[in-house]
Symmetry: C2
Subunit: 357 residues, 2 copies
């Protein structure tokens, strides 16, 4: 089958033309390039706007392997990672261009499943798949997705605006994806297909789901942008410590996080206990949670939390910023034998997430 027939097989009829038009697609897959309308009316977006553009790549054996991800998950997550980047700018994702390099061993049926997952994510977030390129690959699957979105001109949420005395927050639990990967890699894997989530046990089900089907929140980014008190925002793709470092360096200040306020999901606590590990490493250095870490004017931290609560979205106040040499610290409390509390400030390393280290 030639490239064009394959692409048609994988993409045709997935999204209605009108649905795509509502997301600015004037001309989709099937010509030299896609045509997009930068002024298409978008609910909740008024005035002059800018394009938000991000690209993210997933590589077999680096970001996933045959045991950890089902084909559908690979497609889903490749797009979700980009949606997260758009959300972390306060933008609205609209269109995607998809590059897939497929090893011969993969077969058209597996590519179709990859696209099933990608289109499921596209539907979930209202993203029109507007273009793509499919090539063969000598050995490993590589998926590179570019997502374009829209944001009010001059209002995107960057990493650079944090001020000393701001509150530090995170919009969801962290460490779940890394723990999910841990659970998957702990299972024996023989032959065909990925490890079923059920094989990892009940406690790990939510963790495996967090790893395979991350759920960035575009709504959370929009709330933060509209509110006007968010001073910096970053998605947690490379781990909480690493992303906090990025804000610290971009804004030129220190982020001080409180260990006791870090959101520890019940499923993560339970799994870590059973596995005999401390969950803190995953929470600080595990990546791909796609929650967002940010800073906001201190006096608006509680009102923001209340606003998120009303929308049914998590919002955890985990620390504050301080003037000083850029860096990230953790305030850790250890209970002594007498019941006394020892408080220590631990500098957090800048290292990012390494999937299969």
């Amino acid at each position: 089958m030639d490239e064009f027939a394959s692409i048609r097989l994988w993409t045709e009829g997935r999204q209605a033309k009108q649905w795509q038009q509502q997301r600015g697609v004037v001309l989709g897959i099937g010509d030299d390039a896609a045509l997009l309308d930068p002024a298409v009316p978008i609910d909740g977006l008024t005035g002059p706007r800018q394009i938000v553009a991000a690209v993210d790549t997933m590589v077999e054996t680096v970001h996933f392997n045959a045991a950890t991800m089902m084909d559908e998950d690979i497609g889903y997550k490749a797009l979700a990672a980009n949606v997260s980047d758009i959300a972390a700018m306060g933008g609205i994702p609209l269109q995607a261009l998809v590059s897939v390099s497929v090893p011969r061993s993969f077969g058209p049926e597996r590519v179709r499943r990859l696209y099933d997952g990608l289109y499921a994510c596209a539907e979930r977030y209202g993203v029109a798949v507007a273009g793509g390129d499919t090539t063969s690959s000598p050995q490993h699957l590589v998926v590179a997705v570019t997502v374009l979105g829209a944001v009010e001109a001059g209002r995107a949420l960057r990493r650079t605006g944090s001020r000393p005395g701001d509150a530090v927050f995170v919009t969801g639990p962290v460490g779940m994806s890394a723990a999910g990967l841990h659970a998957l890699l702990a299972q024996p894997h023989a032959g065909e297909g990925a490890v079923p989530a059920a094989a990892c046990g009940e406690a790990a089900a939510a963790l495996v789901q967090a790893h395979r089907r991350p759920a960035p929140s575009v709504r959370a980014g929009r709330l933060l942008l509209e509110r006007g008190t968010c001073t910096a925002l970053n998605d947690v793709s490379d781990g909480l410590a690493s992303e906090a470092w990025e804000i610290a360096e971009a804004s030129g200040l220190r982020l001080v996080l409180r260990e006791r306020d870090l959101p520890l999901a019940g499923s993560l606590a339970a799994y870590a206990r059973d596995a005999g590990v401390q969950p803190l490493e995953w929470m600080l250095y595990g990546g791909e949670d796609y929650a967002m870490i940010g800073t906001a004017a201190a006096e608006d931290a509680k009102p923001l939390q209340e606003l998120f609560r009303r929308e049914g979205l998590p919002f955890f106040i985990i620390g504050e910023t301080e003037a000083g040499e850029p860096g990230v610290e953790l305030i850790a409390e250890a209970s002594g034998w007498s019941g006394s509390k020892a408080v220590r400030r631990i500098p957090l390393a800048k290292r990012g997430y390494n999937h299969f280290a």
Copy 2:
């Protein structure tokens, strides 16, 4: 070295901020996503506009190998292939997002050379590199580039507008890239670095250059759009026959090409003669020339040719369109022993370009 330090090493200081701003880049590399101004003033572009967006991927061993391309060439060509897609819509390329998956064996110095070539191409075509993602790769280099451009709303040159009786043209010689690859693969290759062009002999120098550093013409696309008589346009990435087929199928008609009018470059003729091969196979089925094939109102074909001549651009009228079942034919002439001419119509296969077949 971490990912961010690496990306800075490869991309920082390459393009001045003001130069990027003139191409619509509000915020470039260094945050979750790039911010682009869809209304930035662009010379020669007036009125409402649309975004033109394309993605192209180059995979080691599929599109190149250690012998055929220098590191700089890989970067250059990855971007040029996308520029060609924008040009073939009549658009103006403005920004690029770059995904590079790098095998450990490649080393940071080779990646820097890849970026040297990519930025050389970006400079040549005025493209601002606005974002990217760098990951590791288990074994093979993969480069996926997305290019965004601008075009007057409703005026992009598509594949669908061709009418029976139109002239068929091509905006440059074809088959040179495939012949250049042939010349490169014919050389012995041992160890480090790509085959030097000089090793292929004088006749092949232009062919090797055509393969390694394709030269799409944005100006040609703009001339065709502004003229208003071009009814369909496609870039020759997959070979002349394959691209002619795409116009035939998209427009619902036949393209009839005349063998004697196909542009045969002198260097290609000379190399083919020395190598003892017929150049026609390369001209019809060799890919990656990045000239453009199109159709135009028959009465404007000669004036268009004259317009191109005045601009110093090639323009070859190679056939015409006919009503009928979609397809592509070649009118071949064979001289008989008596001096008579036998004219045959040969249907051309739809097959595309296979680099290392």
